[in-house]
């Protein structure tokens, strides 16, 4: 177990397709988080920004971009990129600085403005960049990889109806979430009749890309106790890489590692992400009563059930069919509505997962409140091998 830091404030800008500058979303989220924490921007000693690669230079230096927009104070800043794990990288930068005793209060901000359609690589001929080459040589989009995983999931017994049930569940969860972009009931037939995109995945199985922003105020336990008697705390952050040889194909790669000379690790990459977090927090998956996982596709949510240890390998469909992962079940997953209701705003998403868990642990999640939530876990994964998982407790 490591020392903990407190989540003193959380804030978000609603997800949507607003088409405005990403800094605006980040500032709004930051203002809400500061207000929630009961502190002023001028109290913040460190700002950690999550990068966006689709918004020009300000996106590459979000720490400074957000600090400038909030008003220069001479605070220390950092900017982190880890693809979908960018938010966790920023959270970890802030936590580490607090735990090192270098500051008491930090602000973490991630925000994005996204283009329409498939996420594509940045422009330019880059014959040595696998993320460029996979589009040119294979025509492999992100959904290609989701489709490959979904097919494997079907080989373990899942059906298209099971995938649709994930969408139905998450749509219901997000119905009353004021920050969700899609707030509409979805029926199994809606999913099954939507257009095929990456067989077996259909349009409604796959998450959209969105604009949005999320922010956290993190602080030392000593600082937190001056503001609140019982703060939500961060018990662990996992940012692990795979272990060689990584034998499951990962976006944006052309291949897996070879296990010809060195046997594949007993714990595959995606399982190892949460495992490192549990170890750091000194808890077991059975201690978890709420989770936010990265449902880039409906099928992928089933994979995460097993990856974060909510059930044994092969039992994810049973967990879903038993209703364990819906609000009211044993361990609700994606009570926010997940990416199914949000769409992905890359550098904000991992931060938003922590905002959602914090509201539940404080009992402030309104109609979607998960009763008795004490321990929550987030999980996601950034391209090229950025593991990302956060455990929060109260």
């Amino acid at each position: 177990m490591v020392d903990q830091v407190a989540v003193l404030g959380v804030g978000m800008h609603p997800w949507g397709k607003w088409g405005r500058n990403f800094i605006e979303y980040g500032v709004k989220a930051a203002e809400d988080a500061l207000k929630d924490a009961g502190i002023a921007w001028t109290d913040v000693q460190y700002l950690a920004g999550g990068e966006t690669i689709r918004n020009g230079y300000p996106g590459f230096v979000p720490g400074a971009s957000f600090a400038q927009a909030l008003g220069w104070t001479g605070a220390r800043v950092s900017s982190s990129y880890g693809a979908c794990a960018s938010g966790t990288q920023a959270i970890e930068a802030a936590r580490t600085r607090i735990l090192a005793g270098l500051c008491d209060v930090a602000l973490v901000v991630g925000a994005d403005t996204t283009p329409k359609g498939f996420l594509a690589p940045n422009k330019g001929e880059r014959g040595d960049d696998p993320d460029w080459l996979r589009f040119r040589v294979l025509g492999a989009t992100n959904t290609t990889y989701f489709g490959l995983y979904a097919r494997r999931r079907m080989a373990l017994g899942a059906t298209s109806e099971d995938f649709a049930e994930i969408k139905v569940k998450n749509a219901r969860h997000g119905l009353t979430n004021p920050y969700a972009r899609f707030r509409k009931e979805v029926k199994v037939e809606d999913v099954l009749s939507s257009a095929m995109v990456a067989d077996p995945l259909r349009l409604l199985d796959i998450c959209a890309t969105s604009d949005g922003g999320a922010a956290l105020v993190l602080c030392s336990m000593e600082f937190a106790r001056k503001h609140t008697a019982n703060p939500v705390t961060i018990a662990a952050i996992s940012t692990v890489t795979p272990s060689y040889p990584s034998t499951i194909i990962e976006m944006p790669n052309f291949s897996t590692d070879s296990a010809a000379a060195v046997p594949a690790p007993v714990v595959p990459f995606r399982d190892s992400i949460a495992r490192a977090a549990y170890e750091e927090a000194g808890i077991d998956p059975s201690d978890v009563n709420i989770a936010e996982v990265y449902d880039l596709s409906t099928a992928l949510e089933l994979d995460w059930y097993e990856n974060i240890g909510l059930c044994e390998t092969g039992d994810a469909v049973k967990l879903l069919r038993d209703g364990a992962t819906k609000i009211g079940g044993r361990v609700p997953v994606n009570p926010s509505g997940g990416l199914a209701c949000f769409g992905e705003a890359v550098p904000a998403q991992a931060i938003a997962q922590v905002c959602e868990l914090t509201w539940h642990l404080r009992g402030q999640a309104g109609e979607r409140q998960v009763q008795g939530a004490k321990v929550g876990i987030t999980a996601n994964q950034g391209l090229f091998g950025h593991g990302s998982s956060v455990i929060v407790k109260r």
Partner: protein
């Protein structure tokens, strides 16, 4: 006659009689890499700096597959107008214990494929202009070999 070039230099042997993916093999621990790794063996307990070219098995088992029903964004260049959906396969090579992606040959649909079936490497045209034909590897089910 057009000049034939591989889609990525050094990645494949484009001899029509001997189509092969070319990887590299660590001369110390025997780890195999595709795409080719030339600087340092990525086995963290090895880290040897000498890697030699090695041709990979032309056949393997279908690990998973999916389809591209919509035209991928650039830098993908469509072969047909209007766009024709294609299948993509992840094929596991037994000897090398590595899984490699590739498009499935035209005419084979997602519905025709089955996890675990044998696939073989073939060559096809990725791009073409007045002087050059760019060659890519594709996967083809062995059973449908004509």
């Amino acid at each position: 006659m057009k000049t034939r070039v591989p889609a990525v230099a050094g990645w494949l042997n484009i001899d029509p009689a001997h189509p092969r993916l070319i990887g590299t093999k660590c001369t110390k621990c025997g780890s195999i890499f595709f795409p080719r790794e030339t600087v340092r063996c990525r086995n963290p307990k090895c880290g040897h700096n000498e890697l030699a070219d090695t041709e990979l098995s032309p056949k393997g088992k279908l690990w998973s597959f999916t389809g591209a029903e919509y035209q991928p964004p650039a830098p993908y260049v469509p072969r047909h107008d209007p766009f024709q959906p294609f299948a993509i396969a992840a094929v596991e090579l037994e000897a090398e214990k590595i899984t490699i992606l590739g498009q499935v040959v035209e005419g084979v649909k997602v519905a025709d494929l089955k996890i675990g079936e044998e696939m073989e490497l073939v060559l096809d045209t990725l791009l073409e202009d007045a002087e050059t034909e760019t060659i890519v590897w594709k996967w083809k089910p062995v059973r449908s070999a004509a």
